[in-house]
Symmetry: C2
Subunit: 525 residues, 2 copies
């Protein structure tokens, strides 16, 4: 990925005329992008790694796999939240890790962790670097230096069991690479979060990722059958069976541990045959309330599609779910997107059952095209954010989840918090929302907020983020449904698990990472 | 429950003539039951509770709710494994708790735990007392006395949310009582383990229970949305949303904690409308391998029935799944039982899809009757075990789970371990097996083993249990799919989570139960 924006250069597109006109009209910005800094010109403090430490790391992974190169350090300087990208684009020096270390396998990860614990070097595990919550920020904490552990060489498919529908994947495999390797065996993971193109198997597990086909294939947490984890105290292999009553499920301590308790090096995941049939169906609902009730009905009936999403009126009106047509003529009401995947017989049965439920609940079928358009453009939104940031428009996303009965209230309170916090700073906000993931007991809400940047956009967003986090917690939502905690959500972790829950997490960390070198400053408040 | 057997007196039936004839033929026993001891005649050591301690407990729960009565102590003397029942029937003194304490609510549980931690009194949380792994054994450990905390007064439905399909249930509610109270709102939990009639909501959560309708409604762990837990260090409330990425899922530490980390006092569970339609369909398969492949096909297609079970050839031949007809004319091959529950439309769609998959995979439909017979008799097996024990026949069950690809090998190795271990003692064993729970990646195996009792049936079974536990672990299975760890499975916990996993569990316990009063001797080796 490029150091100061999302993705690869080829993905970056100038804003369309239609979007520029919209921005001028709504936010009064010209739409002309400012130039970004060249990587080579960005000041970095010198690497704090001693030459002895560098040699110690090289002794484990080999000479070619420890880098203190300026560009390498910049490209591991953190994640891809809007504040991250604003900091990269600002004047002045940039924080960066002191070295990037690239182990070849589990045993090298283990050896690096042991070495770093001895030396007092902070370690940031790094997959795709797509965190939007500060999860891969190169924080030194109380240590002399911080290294990034880039896991890209852990890129093997270790074992495929087509009978059981499982595969053991290296933590460093990206989404597309995992799909390609599994595809050779006629299998698919079916995990398609927005970070899919860059993020990795280990990162999906460490952050409780959830993909766009979660209604059909589950969250990544649901897919995890077995984990191999390297810690400064040794190796853990967790998950002996599809289900077990052998005490607490320790996998669930490491899924979501965000690199603070260990480095996930291998994940055995549930996979399925590449679908024989995929059917796209789009729907419109008169309003969000009717649409949400329809999604609830279809999930609670046990007839969920593979993909199931609903945009609210504002998002539908902006065509945000049909990125090629933003600002163009929109569907009336609220757009819902569904797909059905599987054997021809399963798709026929499920599509008929689900279609009947959605129609009975007030849905009007729109055919396949809007759903196909959504799928086609579904990884494009982060690139659009970069183009907006470049023309002085603030754009960020955030997400939460709650029960069905609390969904409308939570949506209203989050929207109000955002519009109040940004409007109160003289920068009125456009807030769009969709239901991105559904469960029988509730759903997630995914918000996109756009406003004109103030003179200090970092402070501007920081105030809004504080307000909206407090609003989410007060309204009974979770502080994050699939973005994880990282640095940005730490203040609200006690609201999630209580002070005693935080003590439990600290006790686990003290047991397996007694020197505290693993990803300091993340997750735990 | 009666103190020395399963269930209530009305459930106990003499063996049928057909079963007696079978026992004489196969095991050479007469079929005449031995008399059991009268409760009043069983010697117990005196309660070790001091009068000051008794007063301290009374100060929290009130005079009527602390008992040191002989019969009360006997009725809380442990669980209902075959070794438990053999010990109760043997001559000599009986282990029993020093007192039974019955708190009214969460705050009283909290106060009792604080008091016991101060006084050094061991605490055994107690729901229905149905543990078959020693989970409620009154172990004093290093403490002066052990109290049982009977939670029957925590029997309220605190909150019902029919929109979200959730209900907050008191830990002491039994299965039937929870269903009755939910039924008044048109809702059902759908959790029907064999212990259903006596076991409690708190016990289901503490042991990772799994019910007979798990293919449709999930394991109890899947149903848990939120937990309230009392610990000596305070209260935990875990689970803010249907799904969250806010770090490790600490619910999964307490689900399956078996009373060693805290006392679960309230559980918010997923519920569903009482099914509008229930359809029963039985099937026969030519052999277990074909049947297992058919179950796999239907689950992996996403078309699972609500109940989905398959008996092997031996179990089918004995009619064990049709308890009214044991020893009578059996279905040929292997019997599978399915039910389909939900709205009429859902049942029609799912039954058609699943039926087509099962037929295509080699199933022959047998109509509703065998499935209805299974459902009718499904809670009777533990009573039958008592009748067998009384006539000198050993009968016990055990269970495991593994991936689909390893299922046949695991089944064979467990069967061999049991037949070798019991046959080697001169008591040839009859081993029956069924698939009781299915997942897309694998299934559980539930074994029933019957043999003539030796002169020392406790030692006889102990040797077989050791052999079969080792065989399960060596063959890649989990040591328990839904019976939990308790005392009996502790030796194999390191095989499940590793020595480092055990250290993590100990660290968590040390943090929240520093004096170690909570259920000593259970779960942790």
């Amino acid at each position: 990925m490029v150091w100061d924006a999302w993705g690869i250069p080829a993905g970056h597109q100038p804003l369309s005329e239609r979007i520029r006109a919209l921005l001028t009209q709504v936010f009064g910005v010209s739409g002309d992008p400012v130039a970004r800094r060249d990587e080579g010109d960005v000041p970095l403090r010198e690497s704090a790694l001693t030459s002895a430490q560098r040699a110690g790391l090289v002794a484990v992974v080999g000479e070619g796999y420890v880098s203190t190169d300026h560009r390498d350090r910049l490209r591991h300087a953190g994640g891809k939240s809007t504040p991250d990208l604003l900091r990269r684009r600002a004047e002045g020096p940039q924080e960066a890790p002191d070295a990037i270390v690239c182990p070849a396998d589990h045993d090298q990860v283990l050896a690096i962790l042991t070495y770093c614990a001895e030396q007092g070097l902070a370690v940031v595990p790094f997959g795709g670097g797509t965190s939007v919550v500060g999860g891969v920020e190169p924080v030194r904490g109380r240590f002399s230096a911080v290294i990034v552990l880039n896991l890209y060489r852990l890129d093997q498919v270790r074992e495929v069991d087509p009978i059981s529908g499982t595969a053991t994947l290296g933590a460093g495999l990206t989404g597309p690479r995992a799909e390609a390797l599994l595809g050779a065996d006629g299998l698919s993971l079916g995990h398609f979060p927005q970070s899919f193109e860059f993020a990795t198997i280990g990162g999906f597990a460490a952050t409780r990722s959830s993909g766009q086909a979660s209604a059909g294939y589950g969250r990544f947490d649901d897919m995890v059958q077995r984990l191999k984890v390297a810690t400064p105290s040794g190796t853990l292999e967790l998950g002996r069976a599809p289900a077990s009553a052998a005490g607490p499920d320790l996998r669930e301590l490491f899924v979501g541990s965000e690199g603070t308790l260990g480095v996930i090096t291998e994940v055995t995941v549930r996979v399925h045959p590449v679908p024989e049939t995929v059917v796209h169906r789009a729907w419109s609902f008169p309003d969000f309330e009717v649409g949400a009730a329809a999604l609830r009905a279809v999930v609670q009936a046990g007839a969920a599609p593979t993909v199931l999403r609903l945009s609210d009126e504002v998002e539908t009106g902006m065509n945000l779910a049909r990125s090629g047509d933003i600002g163009g003529n929109a569907v009336a009401g609220c757009l819902a997107v569904t797909t059905f995947e599987g054997s021809a017989a399963h798709v026929a049965a499920r599509s008929a059952e689900a279609g009947a439920v959605l129609s009975a609940a007030g849905g009007t079928e729109l055919g396949a095209t809007p759903a196909e358009e959504w799928e086609h453009g579904r990884f494009a939104a982060p690139y659009l954010r970069d183009a907006l940031l470049d023309v002085g428009v603030l754009c960020e996303t955030l997400e939460t989840a709650t029960t069905w009965s609390n969904l409308a209230a939570l949506k209203e309170k989050v929207t109000t918090a955002l519009t109040d916090a940004l409007g109160g700073q003289g920068t009125p906000a456009l807030v769009m929302c969709h239901i991105s993931h559904t469960y029988s007991t509730g759903a997630s809400l995914y918000f996109t907020v756009v406003a004109k940047q103030s003179d200090d956009p970092l402070a501007q967003w920081s105030a809004a983020k504080r307000a909206v986090g407090d609003a989410i917690v007060a309204a009974g939502g979770t502080i994050t449904h699939h973005h994880a905690v990282g640095i940005d959500h730490r203040p609200w972790l006690p609201d999630e698990v209580g002070e005693l829950g935080v003590r439990i997490l600290r006790a686990v960390k003290a047991e397996i990472d007694p020197t505290g070198v693993l990803n300091p400053g993340k997750l735990l408040p």
